[in-house]
Symmetry: C2
Subunit: 196 residues, 2 copies
Amino acid sequence: MINQRLQDQIGFIVEIDRLKRIFRQNVVIGTTEQENDAEHSWHMAVMAIILSEYSSVELNILKVLKMILVHDLVEIHAGDTFCYDEEGYRDKDEREQKSADRLFNLLPNDQASEIMSLWHEFEDMATPEAKFAASIDRLQPLLLNYNTNGHTWRKPGIMSDKVLKRNSVLEEPVPILWDLAQKIITDSIEKGYLKK
Amino acid sequence: MINQRLQDQIGFIVEIDRLKRIFRQNVVIGTTEQENDAEHSWHMAVMAIILSEYSSVELNILKVLKMILVHDLVEIHAGDTFCYDEEGYRDKDEREQKSADRLFNLLPNDQASEIMSLWHEFEDMATPEAKFAASIDRLQPLLLNYNTNGHTWRKPGIMSDKVLKRNSVLEEPVPILWDLAQKIITDSIEKGYLKK
């Protein structure tokens, strides 16, 4: 017999396989395949390792990585809310909290609490680690859209001011990457990937 | 102008998007879609966080996570070598080293060295962190195969002794998970997912 604690942990690990089927608005570079949340989370984690030197303050990088790896798990039950969908954002918090309760509580209590707390910290965007993770969460799709001729930006109603505003999160935690994001946005307008 | 260091880092980050197109032998649970290396790496990273308590020795978990996140990058140019493909294993090391040189050297020297060293440490399987990461690299597809009626195990020539041998890596670093792996393999034979 396998003990209950390990059984619960394995149950959670099997359940979160579903993150690989939660699709985002952007596509994988060089394909017409929508990226999924598992791929996005992996890409963000590697970016965090490579780009942490640009943080304006000292970071606990282990915490950043843990936060990034679990930040989208709630979308397993709540679905991906497109960042420019104002309607979808109205009940996003409620849907995601329900999903978090259902999913994280598959784990033993101590681990459920740890993951819940990491997710809340990410969402609240108040600590250095959460601000840095949020910045990477903006920069990753920016790079993908820039390298797919502005795939997501061609959807109706998306203009450069919205993209700029969404990426302004980078300004305080990673000023050099905020500078980069602005250059990419300007260049995207020039190249016709993004409407001014 | 963006400085050269940052340009190189962004070039690497865009290039590794290709890991999302390197497909493995197993499928995502509940689908007929082959899992890709980015999804596999993300899943392993979360597993490492949840299961690190079973390590027989103290671990530097940050190092484990970094190692897991980059361990399959070399497959971008070398491709995925099926673990039961003896032919493919003959020139695997040479193909992968070439791929590592080409890929990691997109990064600034200090970061290229760090990633190269993490990848070699993983491959050499000599340190506690590398042994633990290798164990998770075995257990993750075991769980996926068990939950997809033995998808990969139905390929010609795969018998339980090969699967058991491959998973015996778990014995020293994570004895409790080795016990679990053996139970899953026994149960898979009984359920007809795996030939004895």
